[in-house]
């Protein structure tokens, strides 16, 4: 609903950046293969090794980065709008932690070895269970603070349970397996993972994009929004379901990758009219691009043991907090 501020140029720029990042992600990797060979493989008449690397390794990795980044960016933007809090992200509602807990439980009890789908499914189920607990704890209150407090309680509980699993793990290898998963990565993912994440991300994004107007109306507070015809209870259910399913599905296949949902809305907000609805789609595009670029960085930065994606994004989160702080103190 714009009549004085056009969104098209921003979306085109972000789209271009995303395509560039995706192409780079397909062309760059630990195995140095000439771009020509990969492009030939893409066209369908390349050699078998290039084809295998492209279709079995790099394409699923790129697609996952794209989906997970978009989901995290979008849910961060939607939650910041809904909670009217610039520091909100999926982790604030405990969704990331509980999804991780579901996955850790699968690893801890050895269920993950039964079938490759067990771990992601347990992560998604745990995220949806967290949503139920959140609804129950927050009750009929529509204040964002209640929801944040309930979310932090759930996140803390899930975090404690993860620590417990690490604490009680029978041998260092089991603990190492859990730790490695928790750090978050796109490495060694296959189309199998893509098919698990895709429906979750599609449903999650659809639910989050459905409430653009409610988010704008909440600029005027709860009463103001309801007096504009917004049914806040339905908005909350759609939004929480979207975050739980979408982020649950994302965390399920990549492990916890923090801070993308927090940073991205801040990066795109100054480029829009700053209304909550205007940052949703740009945040999804920018989140996907940021995720792909970080993943390319992980592949290119030379480290003795492999650098995990979640570690890199955590480092990226710091400057955003500092910039926010400096703006608050009017140092910049």
């Amino acid at each position: 609903m714009t009549f004085s501020f056009s969104r098209a140029p921003l979306l085109v720029c972000l789209g271009a950046l995303l395509i560039l990042a995706a192409a780079t992600s397909l062309l760059v990797g630990s195995a140095p293969i000439a771009a020509g060979r990969l492009i030939a493989a893409l066209a369908g008449h390349g050699d078998r090794i290039a084809g295998a690397i492209l279709f079995d390794l790099r394409l699923p990795r790129t697609l996952l980065g794209l989906m997970v980044g978009a989901m995290l960016g979008l849910s961060g933007a939607a939650l910041q709008g809904y909670l009217r809090n610039p520091l909100a992200e999926p982790a604030v509602l405990g969704v990331s932690n509980t999804a991780a807990l579901g996955a850790v439980a699968a690893l801890y009890f050895g269920l993950a070895d039964l079938h490759p789908a067990v771990l992601p499914l347990m992560a998604i189920l745990a995220a949806v269970a967290a949503l139920g607990a959140l609804q129950l704890l927050a009750g009929r209150s529509e204040s964002p603070l209640t929801l944040i407090l309930a979310g932090i309680a759930i996140a803390t509980l899930a975090g404690a349970a993860i620590s417990l699993a690490l604490n009680l793990s029978p041998n260092p290898f089991a603990a190492m397996e859990i730790m490695t998963w928790l750090l978050g990565s796109l490495d060694n993912r296959s189309f199998h993972h893509v098919w698990i994440a895709l429906p979750c991300v599609v449903v999650g994004c659809a639910l989050l994009l459905a409430d653009r107007r409610a988010l704008d109306a909440l600029t005027l507070g709860e009463d103001g929004a309801r007096a504009l015809g917004i049914d806040l209870r339905r908005t909350r259910i759609r939004l929480l379901l979207g975050v739980a399913i979408g982020v649950g599905g994302a965390v399920a296949v990549t492990g916890s990758i923090g801070f993308v949902g927090l940073i991205v809305p801040h990066l795109v907000r100054p480029l829009t009219d700053r209304s909550p609805s205007a940052i949703l789609l740009p945040s999804a595009l920018a989140g996907a691009a940021l995720m792909l670029l970080s993943d390319i960085g992980v592949r290119l930065i030379p480290t003795s043991s492999e650098l995990k994606l979640g570690v890199l994004t955590a480092f990226l989160g710091v400057p955003v907090f500092l910039i926010h702080l400096m703006r608050e103190r009017r140092l910049w």
């Binding site: 609903m1 009549f3 004085s4 600029t219 005027l220 009463d223 309801r226 007096a227």
Partner: protein
């Protein structure tokens, strides 16, 4: 044209009864002021009329239909609401903010149509904020922001308007301007209810006053009869100079009685 009827309305917030057995009828064409001391239940009355709080007893009827349980968007198109306070959560431009008033009129996927843009223009012109259109609303002065929020409520172009303390943080010139604007809306056939603290403004501009005290209606009628010295003493605990010689009463609070 809208009529709102409160039928033995009682409202509780938590365990406290805030409104108790309130009967009133609001129709088009009159500027109705709701006055009363702090905590009398004025804002709760406004919120109950918009079905923002559920009735604990009695009913709120909008055009004969029970407001609680009515479709929110349909109610939003009939009654515009200017909430108390002026907290804004995002730094939107004035034009964008006033445009939020068009939300109840939009279809599920449609954007603001030229007709909506015209309604936004009219609202900005009426609240005298058209010159602020590209300013950031959160960076305006308190008075400017109050007028922008009033424009947002006017942009709904609903047949009824409920304004909760629209005069807070306005200078005397703009206070009179806002009261005249609300009176013009009412004379043009709108139902306008305004919650006020300023008895002088209430007496001079409202056609009818509703005096609330501790959740009950103490008086309901023209300012001349409602603002009587004994009643001001018992409800507000104040002594006031009351001059009924002009066409509209002049009421100036002077001191506390005790």
């Amino acid at each position: 044209m809208v009529t709102i009827r409160l039928d033995a309305l009682g409202v509780s917030l938590g365990r406290r009864a805030v409104l108790d057995h309130v009967d009133a009828r609001f129709g088009p064409g009159a500027l109705v002021g709701v006055i009363g001391p702090n905590g009398a239940g004025k804002s709760t009355l406004a919120r109950a009329m918009l079905a923002l709080v559920p009735p604990a007893a009695g009913r709120v009827l909008v055009d004969g239909e029970e407001a609680h349980g009515m479709d929110r968007a349909a109610l939003a198109r009939r009654i515009a609401y200017l909430p108390q306070g002026q907290s804004l959560h995002w730094p939107l431009t004035v034009e964008r903010l006033v445009g939020l008033g068009r939300l109840p009129h939009l279809g599920p996927l449609s954007r603001l149509a030229p007709a909506d843009a015209k309604a936004v223009e009219r609202a900005m012109a009426r609240a005298d904020v058209a010159h602020l259109r590209s300013r950031i609303a959160t960076e305006l002065s308190g008075g400017e922001r109050a007028r922008v929020l009033l424009a947002r409520a006017l942009a709904v172009e609903a047949p009824a308007l409920i304004a909760d303390e629209p005069l807070a943080s306005l200078d005397p010139g703009h206070q009179i301007e806002v009261m005249e604007l609300l009176a013009t809306e009412a004379r043009a056939g709108a139902l306008v209810v305004v919650i006020l603290h300023d008895l002088t403004m209430a007496a001079r501009h409202c056609d009818r006053l509703l005096l609330l005290d501790r959740g009950r209606i103490v008086a309901d009628g023209p300012p001349r009869t409602v603002l009587d010295a004994d009643r001001l003493a018992s409800v507000y605990g104040i002594r006031a100079a009351i001059d009924l010689s002009g066409p509209r009463p002049l009421v100036v609070p002077l001191s506390r009685t005790c």
